[in-house]
Amino acid sequence: MTNDDPVVDDGLQTVRLSVNGTRRTVAVPAHRTLLDGLREEVGLPGTKSCCAEGECGACTVLLDGKAVNSCLVLCVEAEGHEVTTVEGLSADGLTDLQEEFLNAGAVQCGFCIPGQVVSAEYLLRTNPSPDEAEIREALSGNLCRCAGYQRIVRAVQATAVRRGAAQ
């Protein structure tokens, strides 16, 4: 198909990062994305891969507490940083947010849900009582093909109420 020279980069980079509160060291090629590094090297497949170009949000993780598309971050860029994946959010069982996703009927095939959960968690941490427009804006980078989105909106609203009541 093309005449590109075959290149296999054997030069591995050592990357030290914190994943879900645990220090990890991985040896990866410089082009390895954080998404693939988390899934393949760290062994945390909860973060999903779909479009691999930052459009679908299935790969959303928290990088130093901020939601990012992990397919657009290189592993080497995460050197010294803190990554939280969906597994980290649910380390002690389902969170209130995840429970509300289930209660609202927001989960169908489930493939987009880890990314939705991480994006919604980031929203609620930065804006504890978002209105519907703010929820739709914050989650607009997370695609779902099964459902109609409004159950996710309800799940986020219910969680906000629950957290507000708990304070």
Binding site: M1, T2, N3, D4, P6, V7, V8, D9, D10, P29, R39, L44, P45, G46, T47, K48, S49, C50, C51, A52, E53, E55, C56, A58, T85, V86, E87, S90, L94, Q98, F101, L102, N103, A104, G105, V107, Q108, C109, G110, F111, I113, P114, V117, I135, R136, E137, L139, S140, G141, N142, L143, R145, C146, A147, G148, Y149, Q150, R151, I152, V153
Partner: protein
């Protein structure tokens, strides 16, 4: 805030519906999704999440055009890449290259000298790492000569057009010299006489775009050679047993040597029904004697599944009272380079091209036209959304001529329960009171109430035939402690099939929900199921599971009689109960007593078989019809052509809601998917047959910000379906007529009628300019 399921339950309770419809209280309730926790926590394992240490990675080689002769493939540089184990082209495959397919055995395992669509693999690289496989795939040099491929209906139908299909595939076929793969014709009544008595005749051409499924899980395949010479194949496939049979026949292996593991698909929508790359990956595993794995990119997924586009010319007549007299439609479905199941999409879709209406004279002529494009396959709605777009728009065109509104003209023509809407030898009759859905949708949208300027409403209805034949088998094991395991081969791709089996078994065998588990996705342990498609599983597999429960109950009764000496004639069973002369026993307790100290278990079997009819054009009568009424209120921005959906109502005729939460979730999802093809989605091709908007950046599906301000989904329940407790299939209804409702709403808001989908801002704006000038 009350949810739709809560309202549904309150309504049901208020109506005092009979208790035996919902024997133990789980069926009919909004039980939360089986396996939902893992899907939410990230623990759910999709095919790409399965670990196969030491697996070889596969990368595909393609050519950058849609139609070409392959003159030679130089793999030397690729083979030299460190880590490469093998590079396979058609030359490495048996000759002739094995082919497979659902309706025609036409699809080669690898392109055999001819590339028929952009993305068709011509070679596969197998390497120790994905990096090596991808680098080597780039190093494969393919010498090819581009051919004048046909990428549109017009090109494919032009005299002397390039023939997409190798004529040896269907040597005796009457259409062998054309790109028409199959055609279908339905007719009833005296259409000339009916046209002669029509007071108003409207004639228009409509187009429906090619769209892609865009499951968020792109998918993939892993093939594992077994020590006994067989294969284990992992694929998120909707039809595991079809894949098993396909692998078996391509490689000459007995079925017991092919074990298909089907991890839950991360969305399927029809795109993951039929085998695609699995035979290739299986071949690579057999050849290398190693585990071979491919995980597709989203772009590769776009290049492996899509919906057929369609162009329809329709001529429709009405009396001055708004009654339909005739409908004449010619529908050309643009299918792809291989048949897949596209001829059936064309045949089954066009069967209902005259809609659920009372029309004395009808003639429908449809063709499946091959083009050098991604093979089109099943996609939610299966041909119905296409034909519905034309029929519903024609109805509104007639209504405008007659000064009627969209609701009134449908009231006057929609068939009553039991009335035929397809006539003749292969007649079909309304299996529900569909007027209820129409009226409910009208009420929920506020039909007839005043609207501000630039707002409009549209209402439309759609039908789709369910499965016309089929077989589902299930086993239910009632264990000695009263817990139960269900074996049911339905793929749970988000519709929530397992939740229903859990509910049914809990009620019928008297078990707590969390004491019922469901096993699926393994042809080695789970009995046969024909398919997960056509919204058939509730009716077919649900009935099989129910029958298996009844079988278990019968066995409990028999063994209880034998163990206790109570004559069997004095015993009876009810859902969850054994009735003895001394009173009721819970079924788990009766089972425990019957089994005694040896313990053991009861194994029940259930089968639901629907035999087809040889003479029927669909292969048999549909087991049920999905019927939906959709009403949309839209605001049109005249400056930009943008549509803001202020309210979107969908009402589906569901028989019985076994799980109202899942019904409403499926219905909402279908509605939004329908807005996708109505408002924004379309695959665009360049002059070389390449998809121009290949990938998520350029191909738009609805996001959080594209959906209606209000989305209301309601169900009509009359317990009149053939499934358990009067249920019907429900998963496709809400997208059948989305386009018709939206098109009518835009016309109502602006006075401008658009007949080509999708209704993008550009298209709406352009139409408005034409109208204003």
């Amino acid at each position: 805030m009350t949810t739709a399921p809560e309202r549904a339950i309150a309504q049901r309770d208020a109506l005092g519906e009979p208790a035996d419809l919902y024997p133990g209280g789980q069926v009919g309730r909004p039980v939360l999704r089986y396996g939902g926790g893992d899907r939410t926590s990230g623990a759910q394992q999709f095919v790409a999440d399965l670990r196969f240490p030491g697996a070889l990675q596969v990368a595909l080689v393609t050519v950058p055009v849609g139609c070409a002769d392959v003159l030679g493939i130089d793999t030397a540089a690729a083979r030299a890449v460190p880590g490469v184990v093998d590079v396979v082209t058609a030359a490495e495959l048996p000759s002739p290259v094995p082919r497979f397919g659902v309706s025609h055995t036409d699809r080669p395992v690898l392109a055999d000298g001819r590339v028929n669509y952009h993305g068709e693999p011509v070679a596969a690289v197998v390497a120790e790492t994905l990096d090596a496989a991808q680098a080597a795939a780039r190093a494969v040099v393919v010498d090819y000569r581009e051919l004048p491929g046909v990428y549109s209906l017009d090109a494919a139908l032009a005299p002397g057009a390039h023939l997409v299909q190798d004529p040896s595939i269907r040597p005796e076929h009457a259409l062998i010299d054309t790109n028409v793969l199959e055609d279908a014709h339905y007719a009833w009544g005296d259409i000339e006489a009916e046209e002669a008595r029509a007071d108003v005749v409207v004639e228009n051409t409509y187009t429906f775009p090619m769209v892609t499924h865009f499951p968020i899980e792109p998918g993939g395949t892993v093939a594992v050679p077994t020590d006994s010479g067989g294969l284990d194949v992992y694929s998120p496939v909707q039809h595991p047993y079809l894949l098993q049979r396909t692998i078996s026949s391509v490689f000459g292996l007995p079925l017991n040597q092919v074990r298909v593991f089907a991890p839950d698909p991360g969305g399927g929508f029809g795109g993951k029904q039929n085998p695609k790359l699995e035979p290739l990956i299986a071949f690579l595993a057999l050849r290398t004697r190693r585990v071979c794995r491919i995980v597709l990119s989203l772009e590769e997924t776009f290049q492996s599944m899509r919906r057929a586009g369609c162009r329809m010319r329709a001529r429709t007549g009405f009396t001055s009272d708004g009654e339909l007299t005739f409908h004449r439609v010619e529908a050309d479905f643009q299918i792809g380079a291989y048949a897949d199941v596209a001829p059936r999409v064309m045949g089954k879709g066009s069967y209902v091209a005259a809609g659920p209406y009372r029309i004395p004279g009808v003639r429908i002529d449809a063709r499946a036209v091959m083009t050098n494009t991604t093979p089109s396959t099943a996609f939610r709605g299966f041909g119905s959304p296409q034909v519905s777009w034309a029929m519903e728009s024609q109805l509104d065109a007639g209504a405008r001529e007659l000064g009627l509104d969209g609701l009134e003209i449908r009231r006057r023509n929609l068939v009553a329960q039991g009335e035929a809407f397809v006539r003749g030898e292969s007649a079909a009759h309304a299996d529900g009171d569909w007027h209820q859905s129409l009226e409910k949708a009208a009420e929920l949208i506020g039909w007839g109430t005043p609207l501000p300027p630039n707002r409009g409403r549209g209402i439309a209805v759609g039908i789709k035939p369910g499965a016309t034949s089929g077989l589902s088998q299930s086993l239910v094991r009632l264990l000695c402690d009263g817990s139960a395991i269900v074996y049911a081969g339905t793929s749970d791709m988000g519709q929530g099939a397992r939740t229903l089996w859990q509910q049914i078994v809990a009620d019928e065998l008297g078990a707590e929900l969390d004491r019922v588990t469901v096993v699926s996705g393994d042809t080695g342990t789970v009995p046969f199921d024909l398919q997960t498609s056509a919204s058939r599983s509730t009716v077919f597999m649900g009935s099989a599971v129910l029958e298996a429960c009844h079988d278990v109950r019968r066995r409990v009764l028999e063994l209880y009689a034998e163990s206790t000496g109570v004559p069997a004639e004095q015993l009876d069973v009810r859902p969850g109960l054994l009735i003895t002369p001394d009173g009721e026993l819970s079924l788990p307790e009766a089972a425990r007593q019957a089994l005694g100290s040896l313990r053991g278990e009861f194994i029940g079997q259930g089968t639901r078989r629907l035999r087809g009819k040889g003479a029927h054009p669909l292969g048999g009568d549909a087991a049920f019809y999905e019927f939906n009424a959709t009403a949309i209120e839209v605001e049109v921005d005249r400056e930009t052509g943008e549509l803001l959906l202020t309210r979107h109502v969908t009402v589906s005729d569901v028989g019985t809601e076994l799980n109202p939460l899942q019904v409403v979730s499926q219905d909402e999802g279908a509605a939004i998917m329908g807005l996708g093809h109505s408002q924004m989605e379309q695959l665009l091709l360049d002059d070389h047959g390449r998809i121009r908007n290949l990938g998520a950046l350029d191909y738009r599906i609805p996001t959080f910000k594209d959906v209606p301000l209000e989305l209301v989904s309601e169900a009509v329940e009359n317990h009149d379906g053939p499934g358990p407790y009067g249920s019907k299939g429900i998963s496709e209804g809400a997208l059948l007529c989305t386009a018709g409702a939206l098109g009518a709403a835009v016309a109502d808001a602006t006075g401008v009628v658009i007949r080509d989908l999708p209704l993008t801002p550009e298209r709406v704006w352009t139409a408005l300019q034409g109208a204003d000038s």
